[in-house]
């Protein structure tokens, strides 16, 4: 993965994770989990807009908006699923506000590069890959529409 093509915030998140030992990576993921923004009020009663991420064992729903070439990512997952919330939060913080091209340029294997396989297991990291794949697909759909 070429670091120069990775959006600054995602690159920073990766550096933060990789600088920590395995146990502290879990704590950092928990911090991300606690930081997942609430849905904007206008979307709270619109479950129809959201797509379920089937790759995650816990229910997580995402919804992408594209306005004037800027991508906005909304995600919601229950408090009982902190790992899934953490994954969603990393992507929301890393992708929200980027251009369409920048989001589509994020490598599909970004989740595998965070050093989380040891801390949470490769199977769980797959859930984040599923989330990223769906974000990219939704962005392409919005642009084509």
């Amino acid at each position: 993965m070429d670091a120069t093509t990775l959006p600054a915030r995602l690159a920073e998140t990766r550096e933060d994770f990789l600088a920590l030992g395995v146990r502290d990576r879990l704590q950092l993921l928990l911090e991300f989990s606690n930081e997942l923004p609430e849905l904007p009020e206008r979307y709270r009663d619109h479950p129809d807009l959201f797509e379920k991420v089937e790759e995650c064992q816990s229910p997580v729903f995402i919804f992408v908006e594209v306005e004037h070439d800027r991508v906005h990512l909304h995600a919601t997952a229950p408090a009982e699923s902190p790992t899934t919330r953490g994954f969603a939060s990393i992507l929301v913080q890393g992708l929200d506000g980027l251009s369409v091209d920048d989001v589509l340029a994020v490598p599909a294997d970004y989740p595998q590069s965070l050093g989380l396989s040891e801390a949470v297991s490769p199977l769980r990291v797959r859930g984040m890959s599923g989330m990223l794949a769906r974000v990219r697909r939704q962005v392409r759909e919005r642009v084509a529409a």
């Binding site: 879990l26 993921l29 009982e80 902190p82 790992t83 199977l123 794949a133």
Partner: protein, 299 residues
């Protein structure tokens, strides 16, 4: 040194009531010497958001599996893990977790591979404890490490491998996955990451009994009469049967293994932990699709 058993009336109907404790029992016995409470969840971070006071965490992925080979810990690794959690060979272990004790039952099954004698489940698990308003804490549990002996894992009694399943045809198999997984329908579109099996369907002759049917709405196990109706009357199991249960990676079927072995008293139940992620990718093993169980393979 073993903690007293829970004499709750509901448990008395089960074959092995000593394998369960109620939330009341646990609340009364918390902190008692010789008792260690273990939380084991699907979500690896849930324990950190709040756990039963004094409980330690055992994660199914990162603690119980060998980091390289698809297998469980060795005797040395298991001894190191349990010792580090303050569990001695004669400690009473009570395991609880999220989602109807799905992963708690899996941890209990792995403890059983090493013959840990006194290991029990908290009936209703984490959710019931919380819904009853009982305390959680984020305080770090202080553990005094103890010595746990190196005990060789015994895979011969409660664990089945693919070869065992191939020789098992003619005896009951229980598929505990969702009906969609059983019939072989695809639930995810082709462009999405796959779950890791190349073929869909079920092992021929397996009865479909989704694991969570054993749980009541509050996450506790259903009573003896209800469980007998599901597994004996509906799935057709009878006393003396040699049974193998499977799911996708062996976790949900641990829950069913617990029900059949400890609640209903079947003495020969094995969990096929390779499950669908192995069977659905193995070369030349028989597979049935659709809602019918299928025939015993002839070759």
């Amino acid at each position: 040194m073993s903690a007293e058993f829970d004499s709750a009336a509901k448990f008395a109907e089960y074959a092995h009531p000593e394998r369960l404790v109620t939330t009341e029992w646990l609340a009364e016995h918390l902190g008692q010497p010789g008792l260690v409470v273990v939380e084991s969840d699907e979500d690896v971070l849930l324990y950190e958001t709040g756990h039963i006071p004094g409980a330690v965490k055992v994660d199914w992925h990162t603690d119980l599996n060998d980091p390289v080979v698809r297998d469980y810990l060795t005797g040395e690794q298991f001894a190191a893990l349990l010792g580090s959690k303050g569990i001695a060979r004669d400690t009473t272990v009570v395991i609880y977790g999220d989602k109807n004790n799905w992963w708690a039952a899996y941890a209990l099954w792995v403890f059983t591979l090493f013959g840990h004698e006194d290991v029990r489940l908290l009936d209703g698990g984490r959710d019931l404890w919380i819904s009853e308003g009982r305390p959680l804490t984020t305080d770090v549990t202080e553990v005094t490490p103890v010595e746990y002996p190196v005990v060789e894992r015994d895979d011969s009694v409660v664990r089945a491998f693919k070869e065992d399943v191939l020789e098992h045809f003619g005896n009951p198999l229980i598929d505990v996955r969702s009906p969609e997984e059983y019939t072989g329908e695809r639930t995810s579109a082709p462009a999405y990451p796959e779950e890791g099996a190349l073929r869909a369907g079920h092992i021929p002759t397996a009865a479909s009994v989704p694991w969570a049917r054993a749980a009541a709405a509050d996450g506790t196990f259903k009573n003896r009469t209800e469980l007998d109706a599901i597994y004996r009357d509906e799935a057709g199991l009878s006393d003396g049967d040699d049974v193998i249960a499977y799911c996708r990676i062996g976790e949900r079927s641990s829950h069913t293994w617990f029900v059949l072995t400890h609640l209903l008293g079947f003495e020969h139940v094995r969990n096929y932990d390779g499950s669908w992620t192995e069977w659905g990718s193995a070369v030349r093993v028989p597979i049935a699709t659709g809602s019918e169980r299928g025939e015993v393979p002839t070759r």
